[in-house]
């Protein structure tokens, strides 16, 4: 049962990350258009966040259990706080950024990193920790890695399709951002609770 909940939460994190990218594009559109330049910055920002988040998560998973829990709570809090900032103040912030930078490329860089980079980095940091959770329960590290990144990617796909074809056509972007925030709070809380139950790996 715990394992089912665990896998479900990994899928949910995948949904949150890539669905957020589509919501981000809708937030940016009125300010910077929908050109390929916008998408290039947006995709690069998310990939950079996935990259840094994975390395950060790898480092966290190597920490002693007590410190690891503290880092997990810090990462989750930062994810929630920055998602909340984007949901509540994203449009207003973009208004200011647009006025502050006459060159759209610079404005895009600041917007993408200011509003989207940190929450996605923090969400991504849970990937390696999920791998370690499975490994600590006896799954071979390679298999654990394959399972986590496999189902996380299924979540990514679901996030894109659900957001594009079911949510954006029916709900305002602002409402969806609040939904993302609520789901992030619940899923991160659940995941941290499960990760705490991981057995300490045997010393080698």
């Amino acid at each position: 049962m715990t394992l089912l909940a665990f896998h479900s939460l990994v899928v949910v994190l995948g949904i949150l990350s890539m669905g957020f990218q589509l919501l981000a594009s809708r937030l940016l559109n009125p300010h910077f258009g929908s050109s390929i330049i916008v998408w290039a910055w947006l995709i690069s920002t998310f990939l950079a966040a996935f990259s840094l988040g994975s390395m950060l998560g790898g480092w966290m998973s190597a920490q002693p259990r007590s410190q690891r829990s503290r880092w997990q709570i810090s990462a989750a809090s930062l994810a929630v706080l920055t998602l909340a900032f984007t949901a509540f103040f994203g449009r207003g912030t973009l208004d200011h950024i647009e006025l502050a930078f006459s060159e759209p490329g610079t404005g895009l860089l600041v917007s993408c990193f200011g509003l989207f980079f940190v929450p996605v980095t923090m969400l991504s940091s849970f990937g390696p920790q999920c791998v370690q959770y499975l490994a600590a329960r006896g799954t071979a590290p390679g298999a654990a890695s394959g399972v986590i990144y496999g189902i996380s990617t299924v979540g990514n796909i679901a996030g894109v399709m659900l957001t594009a074809f079911a949510l954006i056509p029916h709900f305002p972007v602002s409402t969806l951002l609040y939904l993302w925030l609520a789901v992030a709070i619940l899923s991160l809380a659940g995941l941290i609770a499960i990760l705490r139950t991981a057995p300490e790996p045997a010393a080698t």
């Binding site: 258009g33 759209p104 305002p172």
Partner: protein
């Protein structure tokens, strides 16, 4: 020695030779934003954009009569004359093949026609295949239309919105906030003119959104391809929705005579589809499912 003298001239001529194509041809170009086809048959060159519903004519020009308005809706854009008969400063969002521009520039040689086009390849093809030459009075800026409007500090007598990516519509150019930004850039007595596709539910959402910003909107149905030109003003009085109130716009500039018959455009006036608009969704920056409304066909486009 002689070769050395002619070499610079020959090198300078190369781009020109490459640019000017003659004879009938069909060419395809995949650009950053569009899949374009340019076809020349006789003296007529068409610029078309591919989309899921086939090819849309962006523009066409008769090279033997460049002032001729080959594509019907470019003629209907001149409905703006009923509401602002003396356009001196015009902003056009979307270059297409500059089908509108040649006649306008000839008819209003003192006017300033600024165009904003996102796709640099469209500008290039319009110059090299359709024979359009931007001047100081008809400059073209390559950037997103909404960004341009936001950053513009100018006032415009006409703002023409004709921005499509093939048959696709950029969502951020369809929202209440964007229309407000355009209204803010209109000079007193100015008119906002937009080209709409009346074949999907997006049309009614467009009209609802337009009318939420502009107190008066008048529609002209272009014959044939389902284009409707909407002319919108930001004042409530005097009333402009009754054709009887429109000026005769007599004494058209000589270049317009023979190329434009305002009586024909007047006859294209269509009634406001009140019931359909009432049921339509308002498009905002926060909620603009443009791509989805644009695939829902309307049952009755003749309302």
């Amino acid at each position: 020695m002689k070769i050395r003298h002619f070499l610079p001239l020959a090198l300078f001529s190369l781009p020109l030779l490459a640019a000017e194509k003659t004879g009938d041809y069909v060419e395809s170009f995949d650009t950053t934003y569009n899949s374009l086809t340019v076809e020349r048959q006789g003296s007529v060159v068409e610029l078309r954009a591919r989309s899921r519903r086939g090819e849309f004519i962006e523009s066409a020009v008769d090279l033997n009569d460049p002032l001729k308005l080959v594509v019907a809706y470019t003629r209907t854009l001149y409905a703006g004359l009923f509401f602002q008969p003396k356009p001196q400063r015009v902003l056009m969002v979307g270059l297409g093949g500059a089908g509108f521009h040649r006649l306008f520039a000839a008819a209003y040689p003192q006017a300033f026609l600024q165009t904003v086009e996102l796709d640099p390849k469209v500008l290039e093809l319009t110059q090299t295949r359709l024979g359009f030459r931007p001047t100081d009075r008809t400059p073209v800026t390559t950037m997103d239309g909404r960004l341009y409007v936001k950053r513009s500090t100018q006032k415009w007598d006409w703002i023409i919105l004709d921005a499509f990516r093939g048959g696709f519509v950029p969502p951020h150019l369809k929202t209440q906030e964007f229309y407000r930004e355009c209204a803010g850039q209109l000079a007193d007595g100015g008119v906002f003119i937009t080209n709409l596709h009346a074949t999907t539910e997006l049309y009614y959402a467009d009209l609802k959104t337009l009318s939420s910003v502009f107190p008066q909107v008048v529609l002209f149905g272009t014959a044939g391809r389902g284009n409707v030109i909407a002319c919108a003003v930001k004042y409530k009085a005097p009333a402009v929705t009754d054709p009887a109130a429109w000026p005769a716009v007599s004494g058209l500039n000589p270049p317009l005579q023979g190329h434009l018959d305002l009586a024909d455009i007047r006859a294209e006036h269509i009634v406001w589809p009140t019931a359909k608009v009432a049921q339509a969704q308002l498009l905002t920056d926060d909620f603009a499912p443009v791509e989805f409304l644009d695939v829902v066909k309307v049952n009755d486009t003749k309302e």
